[in-house]
């Protein structure tokens, strides 16, 4: 990474965690609840990002480790911590209105649309590892990958609401395409002499893919839980099985 950027990332991450905890304490003070699991994943995201920022980068293996921690694992954890929901519930009126306007803008709709998210995610990874980049662009591209990773994870398993988010099957396909592209990039890097760095990219990508798939499936499993009474009869007749495709109502504005 370019000099200064690691420090900036670490500072931003810890400042973000500070804001998260402050917002949470505001919720508690007015008697609202906030799942402790979300706070835990927020802290884990910050740890992952700052570990990446402080990682001494000497070889390609180090660079890959930074990529995995900062632009794949941290965004996944961040998405699970529902930062936007927390902000919407705790911000004072004026900034809250600005955030809402931003979220409802055409621009936000565009960058949270699944195909766009996929292109941002895959494009960033491919360009970063395969294009001959001037060193100065590494930092900015890292930031792009972090942002794209957050959008991608939010679209797949995030706790923040995303209007027009695809159903479970659509999300699985999204994950499949991104993971396959990641594998191809890793092997192409290997073909160019990437060695153990490329192998780490390949298998590290696997680990995050599997973690994401587990969360995606666990959410589906929880959501389609048979409810006593209504579904009990269907079970006896062997009739109903949970739907794979979710019918989602986009909340009215």
């Amino acid at each position: 990474m370019t000099p200064l950027l690691p420090e900036a990332v670490a500072v931003a991450a810890w400042a973000g965690l500070g804001a998260y905890l402050w917002a949470e304490s505001r919720l508690h003070r007015r008697g609202d609840r906030w799942p402790v699991a979300r706070t835990a994943v927020a802290a884990a995201a910050v740890l992952s990002a700052s570990a990446a920022a402080l990682w001494p980068v000497r070889t390609l293996v180090d660079e890959v480790a930074v990529h995995l921690l900062l632009t794949m694992l941290a965004p996944l954890l961040l998405a699970l911590s529902a930062p936007v929901s927390l902000a919407l519930r705790t911000l004072p009126r004026a900034p809250r209105r600005v955030l809402l306007a931003l979220l409802h803008s055409r621009w936000a709709r565009a960058v949270t649309w699944a195909p766009v998210v996929l292109v941002l995610q895959v494009g960033g990874v491919a360009v970063f590892w395969l294009a001959p980049l001037p060193h100065a662009l590494h930092g900015p591209l890292m930031v792009h990958m972090l942002a794209a990773g957050w959008l991608f994870s939010t679209c797949l398993v995030g706790r923040d609401p995303v209007p027009g988010r695809p159903g479970t099957l659509g999300r699985a396909v999204l994950l499949l395409v991104a993971a396959a592209a990641h594998h191809v990039v890793a092997k192409l890097l290997y073909a160019r002499g990437g060695g153990s760095g490329a192998e780490l990219l390949f298998y590290g990508g696997d680990a995050v893919e599997v973690a994401t798939a587990l969360v995606l499936c666990a959410q589906w499993y929880e959501r389609t839980r048979p409810r006593p009474g209504r579904d009990a009869r269907a079970d006896v007749t062997g009739g109903e099985v949970g739907r794979l495709r979710d019918r989602r109502r986009v909340p009215a504005r």
């Binding site: 979220l103 396959a180 073909a191």
Partner: protein
């Protein structure tokens, strides 16, 4: 936009009954098992397969990337679908088993014929006479595939006989 709305709060319906769901679940688990065995046994433990082989074509890389990613997803998805069938007591066992056989056999055969031979991704093993390895690899896949199809057909016949 209510912030507390979880990732999904929709109701479920019923298309794709337990029969089809059992088969699909089996297929996914089968593909997952074959991909897992391929990766763990042949790549990591035996080191017979190579991560990358000089003769690998771009088409081979793309196909391998898809299959590797799909293998993991199939395993995770299949397990959760199986758990869902079980908690609803809706598993149709013969169809699940048939799915596992067809899925793993089909994957093995695809890997053996398309990846190893057609796309020359990598070979079963290096520095040995390949023919016996290729034969065993592909025959094992074909056998599992055929056994699965036979099981599926037998179950269908029995079902038909039972319902008249």
């Amino acid at each position: 936009m209510s912030p507390e709305r979880p990732a999904g709060s929709e109701r479920r319906g019923s298309p794709g009954g337990p029969r089809r769901r059992s088969l699909v679940t089996g297929l996914l688990i089968g593909v997952g098992i074959a991909a897992f065995v391929d990766e763990v046994v042949f790549h990591q433990l035996l080191h017979w397969h190579h991560f990358y082989d000089r003769s690998t074509t771009t088409a081979g890389l793309v196909s391998d990337g898809w299959f590797h990613a799909f293998g993991w997803l199939a395993m995770v998805g299949g397990m959760f679908l199986f758990a869902d069938l079980q908690r609803r007591r809706a598993t149709v066992r013969p169809r699940l088993l048939a799915g596992v056989l067809v899925g793993s056999g089909g994957f093995q055969l695809y890997d053996g014929l398309v990846h190893h031979k057609l796309l020359q991704l990598h070979q079963v093993r290096y520095g040995v006479e390949l023919l016996p390895y290729d034969l065993v690899w592909n025959l094992a896949g074909a056998l599992a595939l055929l056994a699965g199809l036979a099981l599926l057909a037998r179950h269908r016949r029995r079902e038909r006989a039972r319902t008249g």
